[in-house]
């Protein structure tokens, strides 16, 4: 059983296998019967270092594929942006936490320094008061006479 007979096992009985190659009907080549313009481009030498690139023909995209592609790109972009924002937010929160901790520490230290300064000022004022003497000058202290009879108002 050759390959031609294999088709008959899978196809309906009415289906007949077609011959693989057709017989060439026109006896002459087309370029002999029809005048066509000749490609006048210069012939590339065989030793040209860059061989000509032949781009493969891309199949045309349908509407569904285009919409799907746009949607996927949009989702991917949105996801990426969302992730970027999330990462940025996380970084921001971490930075903020560090700043808050530093600020809190700085505030506590400032308050402690202020208290220490005020305590020092109070100590100085207290010492100043203790070192000062009540009466700086004593010139003459007049004796206080006792009550006399017939004294005047």
């Amino acid at each position: 059983m050759n390959s031609r007979h294999l088709f008959s096992l899978y196809l309906e009985p009415s289906a007949r296998p077609q011959p693989r190659y057709r017989a060439i009907d026109p006896p002459r080549s087309p370029y002999l019967s029809q005048v066509r313009p000749v490609n006048l481009e210069p012939v590339r030498p065989a030793l040209d270092p860059e061989p000509p690139r032949l781009s493969p023909a891309s199949p045309a995209m349908g509407l569904v594929e285009k919409v799907s592609l746009c949607l996927m790109v949009f989702i991917a972009t949105a996801f990426g942006v969302y992730m970027a924002f999330g990462a940025g937010h996380l970084l921001g929160v971490r930075k903020e936490a560090v700043l808050a901790r530093d600020l809190h520490r700085a505030e506590v230290e400032l308050a402690a320094a202020n208290l220490a300064r005020r305590d020092l000022a109070a100590t100085l004022a207290d010492r100043l008061a203790r070192e000062s003497e009540p009466a700086a000058v004593r010139v003459v202290m007049a004796p206080v006479p006792t009550r006399r009879s017939g004294s005047r108002r």
Partner: protein, 630 residues
């Protein structure tokens, strides 16, 4: 087609799921609607930090910038009951040793808090206050010492749990909250003027209760701040999460016109005067008559501003501004001023002072001695009641009343002060002839010593009344002057000519034959008026109780100071000329020396200059600013 069993199963599952959703819905309703407020409050308690920021109370300073009252930081040590746990004995003994408290007291406080103290009938408090008024230095020492304590654990062999417990005890058992206390570095000096502070009713900050602390409380106290923020698990506030933040504004500083060295001298002399004369109380004022600034104001008895409650209530009074007394013969200056201003008399006009007693307008008036016919000036110098009762009767009630009120009697002195009184002068419509006769020599009217000092300042200042000053300026905490008080002219009370005649009359009192020869100084000339008033109560005048005062100015020709000294119920003599005048002289001489006023008596000037020796008090003057001294 579903079979019956499958259908039943499907229905059962559906019902079960519906039931679950119903439970979930009810739970949501319970959380979000029914208990919403309560849960919000609990959540806020966990996450929200809300506190009031206490402002720092301002300082009170003298005219040279020396601090008379200031706030000092202090701590209140708290003990965490949660950390303490069951280690009551070890914790109590350690804390008692560190804080120098009785061990039994600490132990009973912890046990009481653990087992009996239930605020709101719920769980015991998290911490209790162990000791108040702990200085920063002491707290630092306690905080570092507690980290070395063993709390009864054997440090060599500790299980992990015990290590953790010991760490907690060392680091979280004791904590401290900040507060402020008022410090008066000079103790009782100026206590009756400054007043005192006590913790405010809401437990935050200090509140002035008396004197200038109460009068200027709104200025000194500052403004409370507040914040609403979030806190972390350890309870630390997160400053960047503050939704509301109003910083506290510290209180302003009040600078007085008081000169501290002068004040100290005055208080020292007044205390000596009260002790020596065995008086019940005493007061004295020194004023600058050119600016009406009060340079010193003393009162005896005084009190300790740290322990005001330990004093008698009457000791808290400011004797110069809040205590009213009959002025006695000092009030004759008002009668003389009214009579001179209305041209009723001149200083040389004669007046018959009779023979010691006389009936004037139906009132029996007595003199301390038969004086006979005198000039008005002599009658003033010898303080004749009869002479001035006659002048008052001739003057009429309206003119005497107008003169007294023009001098400021019966009116607010113009100094804002907690408890200041305006005195009492009987209006002419209500004044009978008896009242008028008695008012002419100082009975039936009531004044403060400050009002009398202001009146003498008017006489010295060419008859012009200025608003007296006790506060010089108010400064913001950063040193910016918020308000500066300048002498403010009020009115012309008497003409300059009348004021000049009154000064002559004052000088005659110190001269030979006057009542205050003891006030005369060999170095400085002066003019004074004495007053010995019998004290009165609801039943009339009290026998043997007198209020003796001397008010005057010095030097006589170009007065720089007005000095008023008064003793309440002196026992070692009571006439002002003998009991108070010597102290007036001592105060005048020392004031002049302190303020650098040169002696003006030519005879004694040279000798006095040789004896003069001003010994400055460097510690105080070092702090003084460039303010020129008088």
């Amino acid at each position: 087609m579903l079979r019956s069993s499958q259908y039943k199963l499907l229905v059962a599952i559906t019902l079960m799921m519906l039931g679950c959703f119903a439970c979930l819905g009810y739970h949501l309703y319970d959380l979000q609607v029914r208990r919403h407020l309560v849960l919000c409050r609990i959540a806020n308690d966990y996450t929200r930090a809300r506190a009031q920021l206490e402002p720092w109370r301002g300082e009170v300073r003298d005219r040279h910038g020396v601090k008379l009252a200031l706030s000092v930081p202090e701590k209140t040590v708290c003990l965490s009951l949660e950390v303490c746990g069951d280690d009551t004995e070890a914790v109590a003994s350690t804390c008692a040793m560190l804080l120098r408290l009785p061990c039994e007291r600490v132990r009973s406080a912890i046990l009481f808090a653990q087992h009996h103290l239930r605020p709101g009938g719920k769980a015991p408090p998290q911490s209790i206050e162990l000791k108040h008024h702990v200085s920063l230095e002491e707290w630092t020492a306690v905080a570092s010492a507690v980290r070395l304590e063993s709390f009864g654990y054997h440090l060599g062999k500790l299980a992990p749990k015990e290590e953790s417990k010991l760490f907690k005890l060392r680091h979280h058992l004791l904590s401290a909250t900040d507060s402020q206390a008022r410090l008066y570095p000079f103790g009782e000096t100026l206590a009756t003027l400054l007043g005192y502070c006590s913790p405010a009713d809401n437990g935050l900050g200090l509140e002035g209760n008396l004197g200038l602390e109460a009068t200027y409380n709104s200025v000194l106290a500052g403004t409370f701040g507040d914040y609403i923020s979030e806190k972390d698990a350890a309870g630390n506030e997160l400053p960047l999460q503050r939704s509301v933040y109003h910083p506290a504004t510290n209180g302003a500083h009040v600078q007085l016109t008081i000169d501290l060295p002068l004040q100290q001298m005055l208080e020292s002399e007044l205390a000596a005067a009260v002790t020596q004369s065995q008086a019940r109380a005493g007061c004295a004022v020194i004023m600058d008559p050119s600016t009406f600034e009060i340079l010193a104001m003393a009162g005896v008895p005084s009190f300790d501003p740290k322990k005001p409650m330990a004093s008698q209530p009457q000791d808290l009074d400011n004797q110069c501004m809040t205590v009213l007394r009959e002025p006695g013969s000092v009030a004759k200056m008002f009668t003389l001023a009214a009579a001179l201003e209305s041209k009723l008399v001149t200083l040389e006009k004669s007046v018959n002072c009779e023979n010691g007693q006389c009936l004037v307008a139906g009132v029996r008036v007595r003199d301390h001695a038969p004086l006979g016919v005198l000039t008005v000036k002599e009658a003033f110098a010898k303080s004749s009641n009869i002479g001035f009762a006659k002048i008052g009767a001739a003057l009429g009630p309206l003119r005497l009343y107008q003169c007294m009120t023009n001098f400021g009697l019966g009116q607010p002195s113009g100094i804002p002060f907690f408890g200041a009184t305006r005195g009492r002068v009987i209006a002419p419509t209500n004044k009978s002839m008896t009242d008028l006769t008695r008012a002419a020599f100082g009975q039936g009217i009531k004044t403060t010593q400050l009002q009398l000092a202001i009146a003498v300042s008017v006489i010295v200042n060419e008859g012009r009344l200025f608003r007296p000053l006790l506060v010089r300026q108010i400064e913001s905490p950063d040193g910016k002057i918020l308000r500066k008080f300048e002498p403010q002219f009020v009115r012309q009370v008497v003409s300059p000519a009348t004021a000049q005649q009154l000064r002559e009359a004052f000088k005659a009192v110190v001269a030979s034959g006057g009542t205050a020869t003891a006030a005369a100084s060999p170095q400085y000339s002066c003019g004074v008026k004495t007053g010995t008033a019998q004290k009165a109560d609801t039943n009339g005048y009290i026998v043997g109780a007198y209020y003796s005062s001397v008010i005057g100015f010095m030097p006589a020709e170009a007065p720089r100071l007005v000095i008023a000294v008064a003793l309440d119920e002196p026992r070692n003599g009571y006439y002002a000329g003998t009991v108070v005048a010597p102290w007036f002289r001592a105060i005048a001489e020392q004031s002049a020396a302190l303020l650098g006023i040169p002696p003006d008596k030519a005879v004694a000037a040279r000798a006095a200059r040789a004896r003069f020796e001003v010994r400055p008090t460097p510690s105080i003057h070092a702090a003084s600013t460039s303010t020129p001294r008088l």
